[in-house]
Symmetry: C2
Subunit: 407 residues, 2 copies
Amino acid sequence: MARIVKKFGGTSVGDIERIKNVARLVKKECDLGNEVVVVVSARSGVTNELISRAKAINPDPEDREMDMLLVAGEQETIALTAMALHAEGIDAFSMTGAMAGIRTDPYHTRARIVSMDCEEIEKHLMEGRVVIVAGFQGVNDRGQITTLGRGGSDLSAVALAKGVNADLCQIFTDVDGVYTADPRVVPNARKIPEISYEEMLELASLGTKVMQARSVEFANNHNVTFEVRSSFNDNPGTIVKQEASSMEDVVVRGVALDRNQSKITISNIPDRPGSAAKIFQGLTDSNVVVDMIVQNIGRNGVANITFTVPRDDSSRSLQSVNKVLEELGGGEVELVENIAKLSVVGVGMRSHSGVATALFAALSEAKANIQLISTSEIKISVVIDEEGAGEATRIVHTAFGLDKEED
Amino acid sequence: MARIVKKFGGTSVGDIERIKNVARLVKKECDLGNEVVVVVSARSGVTNELISRAKAINPDPEDREMDMLLVAGEQETIALTAMALHAEGIDAFSMTGAMAGIRTDPYHTRARIVSMDCEEIEKHLMEGRVVIVAGFQGVNDRGQITTLGRGGSDLSAVALAKGVNADLCQIFTDVDGVYTADPRVVPNARKIPEISYEEMLELASLGTKVMQARSVEFANNHNVTFEVRSSFNDNPGTIVKQEASSMEDVVVRGVALDRNQSKITISNIPDRPGSAAKIFQGLTDSNVVVDMIVQNIGRNGVANITFTVPRDDSSRSLQSVNKVLEELGGGEVELVENIAKLSVVGVGMRSHSGVATALFAALSEAKANIQLISTSEIKISVVIDEEGAGEATRIVHTAFGLDKEED
């Protein structure tokens, strides 16, 4: 007998037929004699509907009331899912986040989980019931309802898996798992059977977008093994777990391509202490998240800084930088939008040399000119022209032996 | 400074504009320096939508899960109402039924309020906040969410008025108040400025349908004065309160007409103890609520019983009665559907004689043949032909001096 947490996102519970499908998937697990905790999101679209109603009433709604509003979405799906399980003859019991003991800090709309109090769930599991928990929500120590922010339901699932000491946590979504590259860019991309938390984090933040980074970080911190898989087929997904030594045999786990960045270069900045700090403080104040940063100090005592920002934030970033440069009394700014960021990721890089060399060789073969390079322990990223970036990704994918085997 | 509970039904919070309207009504009260507790229902239609989704998933949903599902409706409106008040510059705080301290018995979908624990509300009121409470819902002593059944939001409002010791409880609805008769039947009907709980109960159960009887009974038991008024205009409504001696000056408060009943007559029932009991037990077992009952014992030792039932239950009632008569070994049944029940109601009847005489005279003038008569302390009801019942109601209304004064 195993204890399994199964999380179904908004698409997987999007309508009545899909909720029935979830019930059938859960029943299958029960028939195997396993204990199941189900975590569900609001039906897809519902949260956005609620937000748009709120905005129509008050353009700047209070965070606390936003939380009171949004939890209505999962409240509906937990009850409907319980009813669907009852229709399958399965004993099931729905719980709000508060009932399930998901305790958070006081911060509405972006609460962090501080502890899990799973006694109540445990009791129901012991009595042979499937427990259905509303994802995305919790309760703070003043009894107020909180929500966990974007990707909150994944976080609920991982935290519950830890809280009830589950053998496995399955994140059901509309993709089959994590791939060696985006299959729309690289038709030869393969599904990755096992991946470490760190690799998942690097791939997710680079655009794979299967899961929010915070859920993976939580799983990493608490050593929760989880599987990302599709609710629409029976294929095995990708297992995300602590790094095993065997994982190092694969040098590069995947290749990510991000076309949603812009590059900003500031040249001739007066080179005095604090110039860079002021520039990046300005960007932080404008809510711009800067990604890659490269700085060179020239001989003439002036610095050049190049960095990338989300493309949607290009003009906001320019405004912010220009304002700071005015205060500093110098510097010129250049914005380049038609770039792409290509990254190779793998824990095996730590013990293998020559990855950078192999990457540069592949890019050269693809005739891709490297504009920026940045490296971490398990990742090398380069900025190249957007034109030809797809072709470059395919060539790099092949070069690192990631293409799927011929059938 | 007064403390006022204001309850808005599903129509009054039916869309964004109406929720904004509610906020303006509440702001007006705040500007007068009054403390306000707002009770809201789910947006009209939402509860039915949720029920139909539930039934599509499970034709026989568990009561407990039904409660978990339905409370999502008010959860949305309390938050939206709070946001609308914030937009008006009013400090407001939303609360679920559980947070508001509405404690109920354990019975899901039809819970009864057992106590009110209004400390938390009191705290917010003292701090100058408007408190918005989700109607229709409460919490039982095991921390499970319950709902109060039909008309539950009115009950929440009356119970909260008692709990916070409010000076007034206002039930906002889509009608102006309680009328001396249904204005669609009697164009001369007047709005009643003040009415006793008992009169309200008799008029409501006779088809006025402004409020469910249980809320009026609760108000009566706990001596909560409330006002029924429209959320769409500024007209004063009807105050429902404990009987005052001055109320006796009006002999008849209103005339009610109910066209939704059928009459069933059973003749030649073997007159032995328990025959009637068996017949009515059978009807109870078939979930038929019997209204008027008249029994005569004939000389030949056989009894005749006539009673009325909701017209929708006619065939079910006939089936039940026929089954019992078979067991008793005798009796014939006759069903008459085209009847109407006309009632006059007023606490003044207690101290005034001649009301029945005046009613019969008016009915005679209307050429209405009386088929059945039943009386209580403050009500006389008669069954007449459905044809001409409207005209009879108008004549009775005039006869008791209820017509509105000419402008």
